[in-house]
Point group: C2
Chain length 575, copies 2
Amino acid sequence: MSNHGEPRDKHETRRIVVIGGSAAGPKAASRARRLDESADILILQKAPELSMASCGYPYYVGGVFNDRRMLLCTPAGVVRDPGFFLAAKGIRAKPGTEVTDIDRARKVVVARSLDTGAIEEHPYDKLILATGARPKMPPVKGIDLKGISTLQSMQDADYLRKVRDERKISKAIIVGGGLIGIEACEALHLAGFQITVVEVLPQILTFLDPQLAALAENHVRSKGANVITGNGIAEFLGEDGVLRGVKLRNGTELECELAVIATGVTPNSELARKAGLKVGETGGVLVDEQMKTSDEDIYAAGDCVECVNRITGKRVHAPFGDLANLQGRVAGHNAVAGGGASFPGTIQTGICKIFDFTAGSTGVHETAARAAGFDDAEVVIHASTDKPGFMQGKPLITRLVVSRSTRRVLGAQCVGQGEVSKQLAIWAMAIQGKMTVDDMLCADLPYAPPFSLAIDHSIATAHVMQNKLDGRMQGISASDLKRRLDAGERPFILDARGPDEYEEMRLGIGERLIPLGALRKRLGELPADKNQEIICFCKISLRGYEAARALSGHGWTNVKVLEGGILAWPYPREK
Amino acid sequence: MSNHGEPRDKHETRRIVVIGGSAAGPKAASRARRLDESADILILQKAPELSMASCGYPYYVGGVFNDRRMLLCTPAGVVRDPGFFLAAKGIRAKPGTEVTDIDRARKVVVARSLDTGAIEEHPYDKLILATGARPKMPPVKGIDLKGISTLQSMQDADYLRKVRDERKISKAIIVGGGLIGIEACEALHLAGFQITVVEVLPQILTFLDPQLAALAENHVRSKGANVITGNGIAEFLGEDGVLRGVKLRNGTELECELAVIATGVTPNSELARKAGLKVGETGGVLVDEQMKTSDEDIYAAGDCVECVNRITGKRVHAPFGDLANLQGRVAGHNAVAGGGASFPGTIQTGICKIFDFTAGSTGVHETAARAAGFDDAEVVIHASTDKPGFMQGKPLITRLVVSRSTRRVLGAQCVGQGEVSKQLAIWAMAIQGKMTVDDMLCADLPYAPPFSLAIDHSIATAHVMQNKLDGRMQGISASDLKRRLDAGERPFILDARGPDEYEEMRLGIGERLIPLGALRKRLGELPADKNQEIICFCKISLRGYEAARALSGHGWTNVKVLEGGILAWPYPREK
């Protein structure tokens, strides 16, 4: 596939045109070059810059680093401009060039210089589409006011960084509580602005279930940012064309001088559609595992495509920077080699830093699992620290989803101040390795006190799931218990912690304190009716589980464990 | 299996005796209790304390934390003493009690109180051995001098912590450069002592290959500690029974007032052997997957057993704290349920903090792989940061071992200042999921700039391995190149970095600087003989690889890449 000889004759040189120069495009071009030193490779990029580390924008805006060049540099500190691409990779790159048409019959792309307006035609043997995605903008009045931005382009990052540096404003609204919205919230909060996140859905971070999302929301609030859920923007309010506030759908008006729109992205698939390429239901360009479109000579990669969810088999739009790079590598390989590389799909692993807290997800929720035919999805929530207390372990709360029949791991969500990223990586590997809960029970992971508990949080989560699947533990989630309490139910609730802990922090939901160490002597305080429901908990519900096992052993038949204990309880506490 | 009714009659109560109260023992006892509320469970422990977090000793000695109780406490701060075990778990625990015999015919253990000397007999229905391991002591003169310690028991930790706090000494020797030795080195170095690590083998940390071990050794030295390899202790030198120095095998004498012996451990299997239980070749008690010994009614778990390496199928002694807990859980389960739980073996995952550097390994080396029949083991070394530069990414160097024919991942070692623990967890999961290099090429892992590169280090390592397996890259390791240079060979070596980088840091092994960006114009400076060997590198050898691909494309036939580049070069540099 690669050319080990002298450069071919002119007419033999493979011409590869790449449309898009952010992540997938340059990766595809670079991979193509490494496989074919003699190919003629051209990147056409609409934006003025190339290979921007767009996932880094929030950290530049927030002042985590100050050198704008770092968003554009190689690790060795060289800006990835056309000169770099030509010299280091033998790739021609033309930023500021918008492709307006793909003439598939003639195998030519038509482009226009945004600078001069000149129209160019570029013939291709193989074409790679990496046109990315663009922000969805809410169709409300005032959306064009000055002071409204997205956080999607280098220009957006420059604008927001300038606003941050000038520090002339005091109040900002983030529209949308997804990944980008929460990252923007952190960035602008660090700038000293008063932030309100407005999310139309009932929760932020919809890749999390509501309970874990509430834990994340609590953390955002604890930093002093405001969060409004279940309410959308009705109108942006302005004076003289400048943003002065927003009006919410419920009529509330909030002052602000800046609004960042982060309500998701739409694949830029118009060019593909116009050229007659197939576009999927999600709006992304349809590709096969080789990243080939419906045209044999055209590949596509990155945020403009849709890909397969490896668990459900459904086609999804998964605009993640890592997938864009991986897909670009596959597209570039196949554009040269005609095959041999494949992208197997996504399990939609995502992660988000929220100040000193992290939230992420991999695989599917039980709802998605059930919709995809895994109608026996079982869920458990487990909380612990990531490391021992003497090594300053920090909390982790994991919500694990498995199939009851096959016991296969289907999904995991994790939040907390601990090392969420490692936990998600472990579960992502378990899912991709098609592993079961049982495979995780005795997993051999790196253990030393600076890095994990003796039984890693992930393994302990599998242990709890095993206990649940095997009928040794009946669990109840905080959200289910809260719903029942709100409906007026008053089950017998047992707090198995010690008196000091109870004085320091307590739920105050009618629970009775019987420390685990006293339980066997105080069984008389439990309901006389052995069929009455008892719900046990402690800080993380390990002692809660031990209490439940003891009560079951003494004849109570309906004993439950509040999963994840106080650590996973996102609702207000008495103390 | 569990008892949901009233306590059974006396003669029906299951009697479980556990010998050993550190990690595996209490875990087994606790698991047994959770499965059987009515069992009579007794822990007999020789040491005066129970459930010690022994892996935490180095951090207590080093002053990472100061509250000794934290080594003995539950996460809620309760010391795990006999009162705790009885109250919270209904488990009787007798520390200070040494078991001297197991009478298998009568199903009785004979024990002696170390306090009173009284002999006790404890009948059992099921017995669990968790007798641990003890330090190997070098059989040399002076080993009994005052000032010589191990770091294996609470008493050792107390002694070394006292030495640290008193700060009366100035020089300490660590005998053995394994995990515990290096952890002891860090602990005592933090105390302000001058440390010398003496290792009889040619390298420290033998779970690493020599090149990665040299990188770790460099780091130890960079902190000011001394390391002597390939030299053992001939004699401990003393005055009036007190340690004053050591004499090495090569005759060198070193002054010291403290020596910590960390030359490995031996399973405490004498009791089992005496009782006629089968003991394996490694000296560990022989158990099956259920942790059952050669006696139907006796289980064993933890550092006293040998277990199966899941890759090679060989029996190994793997004294790791995490495995002890996992095995204890299995043994406790089966002691009650008669089966149903199994421990599938180990892939010998280990990790070690070395100041702000980490080193670890999972799976097998290529030598072990070849010995086990994987005679087509292929190796690659890859270096990069763990996160982007703008997020203060830190270096990682990974050495990956796979089978060329099946492309299955067999092992990985990782060192560096970056997040080694997460990398090892990923590879450990890949191995346990029986995944191939190809499964890793498009792995969907959690990506955001605070947590990883867009293409995670592990995935990039798989990419490099793919390139090697598919014949697109010929690699050479730093150790192989160094050997050839030392033998007088002078291959053509190409540094593909920029002039500024070259000025700042360079190998000085006769390399020629031709920046990648100038390479295609300066091909005339390359050897005229297109079959001459050329070795390319850069800081991490990504540009080195690109240079190699370009040269191959221009007709050079024997182009290699120095794997891992300068980051993975452990030998002295010119600059």
